[in-house]
Symmetry: C2
Subunit: 218 residues, 2 copies
């Protein structure tokens, strides 16, 4: 990584740290100080605060779009175990991201300079929610691509909206919201597989009924 790239990373890291703790009202001066660079240097990298916020959001979603939620190549984990793990991870990340990003996400019109950062985030989410739901669907033995509503369900359940409902309306945290999200996503996946005419049987209504299991037959 060139010195220029290293410095850029340091600035983006500083912006992310400040956004996490202080929200989106942070100034360019504060970011320069946190990153240990001069004000003029900062403006050379990012001419406007909008540029910097957009880059910081892109930076924080790069890992997700790049496949953080994908199982290692060649591995075929149980889809229900995978979605449980991914949703817990996603909700812990929502908790760590802090209120600054949530302000951008929930009220993107607050300042027009945040609207562009919100759009960048929206696109990044579309890519990784489609990719992950596709992986999940294939692992569960679903034919072709998953139905659109299942992707939308994952998008909702992995989102900060679901996390902040748990925090603000139910006064609980990431562990509980990850668990609720995983339960709902598992129920949605089973429904979608039944609709596709394959793969999931529930045991008949016997009194020994346990958690429904994936039979794997197609």
């Amino acid at each position: 990584m060139s010195i220029r790239q290293q410095r850029r990373e340091r600035i983006l890291h500083a912006a992310a740290v400040l956004m996490r703790t202080r929200g989106t009202t942070i100034t360019m001066d504060e970011i320069a100080e946190e990153a240990g660079v001069g004000r003029r240097t900062l403006f050379r990298y990012f001419p406007t605060r909008e540029d910097l916020l957009v880059a910081a959001v892109e930076h924080s979603y790069r890992g997700l779009a790049g496949g953080q939620f994908q199982p290692p190549a060649g591995e075929h984990p149980d889809p229900f175990a995978l979605l449980d793990q991914v949703l817990h991870l996603g909700h812990r990340q929502s908790a760590n991201a802090g209120r600054g990003l949530w302000q951008i996400v929930s009220n993107p019109e607050v300042g027009s300079e945040l609207a562009k950062a919100a759009a960048v985030r929206r696109t990044a989410r579309r890519i990784y929610t489609e990719r992950f739901t596709d992986t999940l669907w294939t692992l569960a033995g679903g034919p072709g691509h998953p139905p659109r509503w299942l992707i939308d369900a994952f998008s909702l359940l992995e989102s900060m909206f679901t996390y902040y409902h748990q925090v603000l309306d139910l006064e609980q945290g990431a562990e509980e919201s990850g668990t609720l999200a995983a339960r709902l996503m598992a129920a949605a996946l089973r429904d979608a597989l039944v609709e596709a005419g394959i793969g999931v049987c529930r045991e008949s209504c016997a009194d020994d009924s346990d958690r429904p299991v994936l039979t794997g037959d197609r």
Copy 2:
């Protein structure tokens, strides 16, 4: 209704209208003008802006807590049809409520005077989400009271969080978010009934499998 009550209702209605169109930054003067009352009269009813915002939120949730989502006494509608209807209604109401209420809901720390209104809303939601999920559970033949997670699922799916995910992340509206919420709630209800060892059978994995049906046997 006494003249005093009528005037109070008119002020709350004016506050709700302004909040819907303009957000929570509205001033007491603007509310007085919209309600057609003098500034001194307004302050006699509501000594602070906080008092007025809290009362306006209470006012807008009164219908929900009072049983708006309940079927008429003696009626036993299909639980899946009922949840579909209720979630579509809830999401249309979220759309009509406008951004002002969403700002209170999503970022209650914006001003401390909004925190109390947020708490009022949270309590009202707890009451009606528990009551509705209980009704749903009983209609579906569930034993005793529904599991906590099913109430939490309904709370999430009926919430403005789910509606605004659809609007801001998926760029769709209340119709789509109501449909997605109803699908997920139906899947959750089926899962909870299976866990309780009763009531819902999925047809076996035959290729003629259709939407799972409620058999009603306990």
